[in-house]
Symmetry: C2
């Protein structure tokens, strides 16, 4: 049995018994009923995911999957393609947004080369990044499939391997990414899943202008037309119109779910990865926590299809895992209220009138 | 000159020069333009408030003002009035929601007795709470003014004193409160400011049922009718339909603003206090950060009148300062991105195409 099939087979739904135990305690806390709202929903989820009370959320890690895209050469981004590898160096030096926000969250950052067009073997040898390099960027989705089915499977298994590795000493995982042009394949995935044309899901990405924006939509519609991905088949969707880092993200989520660990899903690109994971295992959504609602237009519809309401809504559109790193504090808060807040009985506080 | 007048006189608008310096750096960070959205707006605000780059946000404190309300004896809450003092004991023992979330944020919790109906002098003597006890609860706003103009001034000055004391070793302040029945005076304040009847701003508070809810609205409308507060006069608004803890909150905000320190405004009751502060000093709003949008119905309209968009929206309706404690992490994140993220030049990353 392959690592992918084995991992999918190990994913179980959240545990109803642990959820019920959490709810029973949350309802007795010294506060009006469910007065911490979505933090309490999350606390219940965490108990169901981890099968423990309190759910331990101490050690945190964010995996930043980096890769390039053939379609980026068609001018869908305002940034030149070499920015992907330049940003990998920035991550390694600790100067990027994700480094700063992960430091604040007390989270480890692991950068994974999934297919950056450029030689990062030096960084990999020095142990500064993890290499699961599939190829020097995907093929151009405007001309054919992004990758072969075999490459798609390799991406997913690479993500699973990262999850298993990080899971050895992390309680909470998070997805992040870097890849110039990657809002284009992400929009294609979301459009395919939602069954709409590019116009319904495409945003400005890193800031393209009007004519470039129209061209980006044309490319996405054309990519969907020539590739005809099966929107119910995660592997096909990923191979036809995805990206290597998107596959890594989907794999990380599956690997986290198989270990019963919560995984924070960052913004638009990460949600495209989550949609791929959902197609491979509906139960994996039980372990996903949507970190934030991105300013990228298609994110709203992507989250609806994933069935998730995000924790934050701060007009972020950076990616890298920054929204996920910011949301870690809320996950930790949810875990703590479950056992650290006193019950009415423990604190000798009068309850509500019947 | 009184402490109140002196404090109001010292409040200056945010500094435009420091804001501009912050913006200049934020625009050069290795990310698409303003890609961290509202976190970057906040970073700019923090520089304008603190007149420093980076704005130091390390030491944090939340002041929890507690008081009782004459109107609570009319049955506007599901909880008996003694819960206010029971919760003060819970705060002191560290078992309440605010204790847990403040611990996570690394924030100090200071509990202030503004007028709890009950003897808390023992806790005050032991230094476990601060006493600015004005009276054993306000008078019933359904029968006349909540307090005398002199008492209103005392509340505001007490809040200012707390801000000055905390300001000695805190960079970021936050408001919190406890007072059974206090959504009723808060709704009255918001209704007066918004110029609408109770129906437009009243929510369920800690969870009142239908007939009790109608009665609560009747009481608020009646209180506004007999007291006729001047909605442009903060002192009159506070004295006629406010509460001692609401005055403390308004004072804390004024005191923070006078020191050039950011202050996180918690939920519905805190926002009522912020509206009182705004009426006393429009410039004080420059130092307010709305922590979250409460599930309490009137909070949305209160925030519109305050001119603030909240950072979080998690269906919280606990008060105590819990939403403010949760938002501290975001304020710290905003401060850090300003100087810790590398610029394009520093990181040798290519910029966007023109």
């Amino acid at each position: 049995m392959s690592l992918l099939d084995d991992t999918i087979g190990r994913i179980k739904s959240q545990d109803a018994g642990w959820r019920a135990m959490a709810r029973t305690r949350l309802e007795k806390l010294t506060m009006p009923h469910w007065a911490l709202g979505r933090l309490m929903d999350l606390a219940e989820d965490l108990a169901g995911m981890t099968r423990s009370i309190p759910p331990v959320i101490q050690r945190k890690a964010v995996a930043v999957f980096a890769a390039d895209h053939g379609v980026a050469l068609d001018g869908v981004s305002r940034y030149p393609r070499e920015v992907t590898q330049q940003m990998v160096h920035n991550f390694v030096r600790g100067g990027a947004g994700i480094n700063v926000l992960a430091r604040l969250a007390g989270a480890r950052v692991v950068v994974v080369d999934m297919g950056v067009a450029g030689d990062l073997s030096g960084l990999a040898r020095e142990g500064k990044i993890v290499s699961h390099h599939v190829a020097d960027g995907t093929a151009n989705i405007a001309k054919g499939p992004a990758m072969t089915p075999e490459q798609a499977r390799r991406c997913l298994e690479a993500g699973i391997e990262v999850a298993l590795q990080l899971g050895k000493d992390a309680d909470l995982l998070a997805t992040g990414e870097m890849g110039i042009g990657n809002t284009t394949p992400s929009s294609a995935i979301v459009a395919a899943v939602a069954g709409v044309a590019a116009e319904g899901v495409t945003g400005g990405g890193t800031g393209v202008e009007n004519t470039q924006f129209l061209r980006k939509m044309e490319i996405i519609n054309h990519a969907l037309e020539i590739n005809r991905p099966d929107s119910h088949d995660g592997l096909d969707l990923l191979a036809k119109v995805g990206g290597f880092e998107i596959g890594g993200i989907a794999g990380l989520i599956l690997g986290a779910a198989a270990q019963g660990k919560p995984v924070l899903v960052d913004g638009f690109i990460s949600t495209a990865g989550a949609l791929v994971a959902q197609r491979l295992s509906q139960a994996s959504t039980d372990y996903m926590i949507a970190a934030h609602r991105s300013a990228e237009r298609g994110h709203r519809i992507a989250l609806v299809h994933l069935g998730k309401q995000p924790l934050l809504d701060l007009d972020l559109r950076l990616g890298e895992g920054t929204g996920a790193a910011l949301a870690m504090n809320l996950v930790e808060a949810a875990a703590r209220i479950l056992t650290e807040v006193a019950t009415f009985e423990e604190a000798a506080v009068s309850g509500a009138n019947a």
